[in-house]
Amino acid sequence: MNISTVNKVCFIILAVIILPPVSSAQDQAPVMFAAVSEESLLFQEIPSVYGASKFEQKVTQAPSSVSIVTSQDIKKNGYRTLADILRSVSSFYVTYDRNYNYIGVRGFGRPGDYNTRVLLLIDGHRTNDNIYNQAAIGTEAILDVDLIDRVEIIRGPGSSLYGSNAFFGVINVITRRGRDLKGTEVSGEAGSFNTYKGRLTYGNRYQNGAEAIASGTAYDSKGDRLYYPEFDPANPAADPRATNGGYSDNSDYDRSQNLFSTVAFGDFTLQGAYVSRTKGIPTGAFGTDFNDARNKTVDTRSYADLKYEHGLSAKTDLTVRLFYDYYQYTGDYLYSGVINKDVSYGTWAGTEVKLITRLQDMQRLIVGAEYQGSFRENQQNYNVDPYASGLDDVRRSRIMAAYLQDEITFSKSLILNAGVRYDNYSTFGGTTNPRLALIAMPTEKSTVKVLYGSAFRAPNDYELYYQVPGLSVANPELKPEKITTTEVVFDQYLGDHLRASVLGYYYKIKDLINYGTDPVTGLPQFQNLEEVTAKGSQAELEGKWANGIEARISYTVQRTKDQLTGDPITNSPAQMVKLVLNVPVMKDKIFLGVEEQYMDRRKIDAGGYAPAFAITNLTLFSQNLVQRLDASVSVYNLFNKEYGDPVTLDFVQPTIRQDGRSYRFKLTYAF
């Protein structure tokens, strides 16, 4: 779909939003007072909601394919990070290079992209930073997963509402509130690789309506002793940096501290979060000295977000948000014993104003505007001793945006959701992105969605401005990447407990940013080079029964194509199968969680394929077996399957081996 087609779609959407819908008087009339049914409100049997999915309506009526992972799912399946959560849902996959986790969605998973093509929100606050636009999902994530109430994983383009990064999807994390705790919670866990974690959380809702939660987490892992044949001097083809028999000792360490708090009173909610994570780099990545524990990255991220939500009238709600964010990254990279520091600082602040109103009882209109000013976007690179500066780049920028979304309920069985957003960047200019969704419910138990949307990813500061003399050249002329997606989703409830979902999609990415060669210097430079198309489908069957059994199985098949070469892109599994099964061993007390994840082989940058693999995770979780005490034991990669994830060419290893069988034991006590 070319730009003029996108403009046409924008025009249609604006017309749909501006023109009032035509509807029958019957549709508009309120439900009249019907004496005949009055007492039935009291006398009729109402189906229990305990076996139901708590967010069923959200899933079926959303203008996207949505998965929801709740706090109970997190406990029952022993998820340790957001990365674990995403691994469990259909069409998502995650690779790990033993420093950061990288999200793959719908066959597109570029190792080393810092998750810039997925938007991560925490209670609506955008967490992607202003230097790399990174969505942090591993131990560097700003939120401890224990503080998650639910994660809404929204697939497909979301730029019509959220702007940049909502390219393949939006991950919206909803945090627990004071009312969910009503007291203090202390949690401790220990696991393989000398891993320990402790958390203290207090939360409550008070009589005056005020609500607060505050939490602190400390995490420390010594990490694994890792063997890489590429660094084994006994290997004739070993890298020149080979040493220590190919073992990386004491370099896989991982330490983090998190703070999180939300205070709400009346119309105001103030939230603050902080994380600092130090991770050793055990892989000799970027040509650094192998087996030197001084190779590390430190990521520090924090934000404060003040939200004002007020009902202006019975049908109109106003939300105003003010935010301030901070990010700092420091990488220590050792080259022949000399420490090279790679540093970036980002501070930004902004505001969002959003108005939601209901018109004629059948239109739900969202109008909003955003402003974000980055007053520090600094990147530096220097050798410590002897001091030598390679980069000292200081920037400022701003983003302005306005959006409009209309949900029109034509009848009980037909909803049209149309949205469009205009973003203006001080760097590259403006971009307009529409989304159109037609949601039909031909029967009470069936939903068909036809979706079309475009999204963009703004080039980040690293891609625009990072350069080191003699090594790489900046490219301030980069344009945003664009994706257009067409999707059909069919949801069918089978009886009271089963939901089947089938979807098919096609997307096309233009101006994909990747390393090219600067024609002047011949040095590597980020350029808008590639065009990728993909088609795929996904089938999922989900069951929830009143006896506590829950199951979800999904199968994803996808084909990606690099339009230049005609080949599939790297790190793109053609097939994935996922199973999550939770069985109560003792009613309401003990649960067994079984997870099975199959990933097809994936092409790797260095040539060849990372083999297919299947892993099994097991968690035994008990709640209130001893009053107020939750306990769990998890075994990850139960059958000790050896497998590796593809990585970038910054590694000499074609794939990075992942953890074998590992354990975690966790206790949580509430008082």
């Binding site: 019907a34 409100l41 006398f43 909601v49 967010f55 309506q57 009902g311 049908k315 209901r358």
Partner: protein
Amino acid sequence: MRNAIVLTLMLLALVVLCPGAAHAERIALLISSDDAPYKEAVAGFNEYVGKQGLQPSYELINLGGDASKTGEAIQKIKLGRFDLIFALGSLATDAVAREISDTPIVAGLVLRPESLKKGGNITGVSLEFPLDLQFSWIQKVIPQARTIGVIYSPEENKKKIEAAIKAAQKMGLKLEAQEVRTSQEVPDVLERLSKRAQVLWGVPDTVALSMQMAKPILLFSLQNSIPVVAPSSMWVKAGALYSLDCDYKDVGAQCGEMAVKVLKGASPGALPPESPRTVNYSLNMNTARMMKLAIPDDLVRGAKQTF
């Protein structure tokens, strides 16, 4: 249908077994349907009236929940020249109150006390407990709650909510009342309430609290740890925290008391409509546990039903 036959046989037996029935007062028994609560109320009415030494003859007319049957039923009652009409349910009560002004009417199992004030010939017992009683129960079960959320359609419940705001204020509570005109508005309004309300008071309302909205409302309650005070035990079984329930048999007996007074010469207009005098309640301990609400032991023991 089977229920209707059983009910008819029950009444026939009552008529046959009562000697001298031919000279007794004649009561038309108009019921909106034959659901269990109506049968219990009829049983309570008969039992009380029988105990008072009266031996009336009954004529049962069951509308079966069908509004189109009211015309025929009214004709039958008019021709029957009854001494009293005992109407159960809003469908039956509204029909007789509208069409008959020369025969005394005692009504029961109606949601709205206003239905019992439509003429000088009608009185009865509504299904609604007094507002101060309902709020005092909220204070008893959820003492920490200060802000009570409620959703309602103004067509049905405007006056009631206005009165409730005042009643709540008097008791140191704040009622956060949100209007809805269609059921589509309910999710947005609930979202708004989630920030303020500490409990959701379920007022019988065919728009806001319809059967179709039961699931979204109860799921909202569980998601947001905002307990629902439900209009009936059916809602409690499904996931609400508690409900104040009528003893339908006793409501029948209470109506019987009024009927006896009327048959002995009192004017229905002189007998003010009453609320149910017996309060039963149901509790959902599962919901209480999930919301970390400590329900006192004596309250748990006193519940008619716990789930």
